[in-house]
Subunit: 383 residues, 2 copies
Amino acid sequence: MAHSVVDMKWLGHPVTSLPTPAFLVDHDKVAKNCNDMLNKCKQLGIKLRAQVKTHKTVEGADLQTGGTRRCIVTSTLHEAEMYANNGFEDILYGYPLIPFHLQRCYDLRSKLQQFHVMVNNCDIVTTLNKTEPPAGKRWSAFIKVDAGNNRAGVCWQNTQAVVDMACQLSDGPHTEFQGLYVHCGNSYSAGNLEQVKTVRDLNVERALHLTQELQQRGITCKNVGIGSTPSCSQEVSTRMSSLTEIHPGNYIFYDSQQESLGSCSMDDIAVRVMTRVVSHFPDRGQILIDCGFAALTKQGYGKISIPGYAHFQDNPNLKLVDMTQELGKVEAVHGKLDYSQYPIGSILYIYPFHSCATAAMYPVYYVHHNNCITEKWYPTRGW
Amino acid sequence: MAHSVVDMKWLGHPVTSLPTPAFLVDHDKVAKNCNDMLNKCKQLGIKLRAQVKTHKTVEGADLQTGGTRRCIVTSTLHEAEMYANNGFEDILYGYPLIPFHLQRCYDLRSKLQQFHVMVNNCDIVTTLNKTEPPAGKRWSAFIKVDAGNNRAGVCWQNTQAVVDMACQLSDGPHTEFQGLYVHCGNSYSAGNLEQVKTVRDLNVERALHLTQELQQRGITCKNVGIGSTPSCSQEVSTRMSSLTEIHPGNYIFYDSQQESLGSCSMDDIAVRVMTRVVSHFPDRGQILIDCGFAALTKQGYGKISIPGYAHFQDNPNLKLVDMTQELGKVEAVHGKLDYSQYPIGSILYIYPFHSCATAAMYPVYYVHHNNCITEKWYPTRGW
């Protein structure tokens, strides 16, 4: 969100001068993660429609789009509006459309040269064709296809429903059929890198199969895309060049969940929560840190390679065993804590399990180059 | 947080006109919850030092203090600063103090007639006595005592440490001993109302025992308090009138966790997440709603009386089985879903498991009287 007050506080200071907890974004890593994904798409000859929900900032989306401010997907109307107000174009509101959303979509359609909605069923297509769009424009819609994720979308096996919706969108007075959108969220349930690839390839095949089915009926998909960070962070498959776009999002930051899925190395993770030690309790083998659930969220427990909620950078023997709102309890994974290593006030860095969730807890992200704060990013929020 | 832009949007409208997800605050219930706690303290002849971290708003703290804007406890320095900037007095920064906090505490001590810190160990007391306070003032400190909660505080059995700290605070050049602060967070682990009372009474006895130990050594506690919403929502004990204050916080809103502990009835819960149905999936017996973890948090799974994350108001047969960032998956607890009852776009209301956590996800709270939006509260956030 463009911040109305010019506030230089902390710029040029070392990150270690910040109050804690603080959300740190390593600019070089973010830039590398963004460039790598852009290069991958270039190599495949397809577009990157970056999902922006992980960070919800103008600056992050600038890096994701290589500065073009074109071709993004949002998870909320509020995000779409924020990006539209900041000069972004070709925005997909990537959420199951319901009639209640139409007034705000009308305003977005008025404002943007390219604005797309995502439809989930025939009824909303009928509604779109009964709803006058802004003069000289049409409602451009992607059909959301469920290719095995079991969340939103028309089941990929239900060819007839997809064909019916595509026909209605192509032939309707107010609509334009844009193509197919598949979110391969089931890649998050994969056990390892090979399984992620298998899930990804299945999603690609199912999307392309449906595209062909439509083509055989004379309906052209202008765009066909699949996405999820695990799917898109792997070595590409040649079949992916038959898509027109991919739409991962979390890759801008990555996190320890992505590391465990083989999407990235720990060193690629661009975000950390900085925290300070606030108390020692040798009697029960604990230290307290100023990172509670308000600073990290309670996601990830039991889902990482050590017990607890998160990995501590350079401190593999620390585990975060519990959190209340503003306090975290830290213990040794093995043996006893050496308290002399963690004096009160000393700083620790935590890799979030799920950076989309953790980022949402912060009003500001402190962006740094090496140890120096270079920018502050203000994410938007709300709906 | 006082909001700089006068924004009348939604005021006077029915809550059902709001975009979803939305965080609704029932003004009558909040007022009743606040008055009940104030009356309980009046009856006991003690002060209510309301914890404000649940809501972080000026308006909520106005109701908690009965309009006096005096005697609150905060969980962050940022909250303390926000309240100090809005005319509140007698603020306790209720967090383990570390040297890094001292500059901001200095500014708060300058600004306020009564500002207290909370100390956890001897070292920080020594540091306080080496740190010049604002002219004509002292550092007023509560000793945090751990009476069984096993989080922050000096162990209640460690009388000598408490005595040493109290002496140092009483005799030091820059400090003033305010008294003892006990958070009975272990009341949350109690299985039922009777166990909550047992935990509460034990915390009270331990606090009063230490007070007496200090008194026998000629050290007077100006204030002795215990707190937690489960402990303070029960029928009072006569022994509580020997305290000087209690400091619950969550009671302003309550939630389904509190209901399960016997702190309140479901009807006392003043906050709900309003959500809309966005998709039907009869093949897998699900509906999707626009309440994902970004609107509720993932706290509470498996901890309520039905499976899943939360209770739906007036729909005891619905369970929230999974959430991604912006979508929730809802199924029937028993039997099949009757989809005709939940048309796409229809509204459902969710009782949060932990209202402190859920409230923190929202940039604005919509306060309503019956079904009409009467106020918007803007919580502060950050550290």
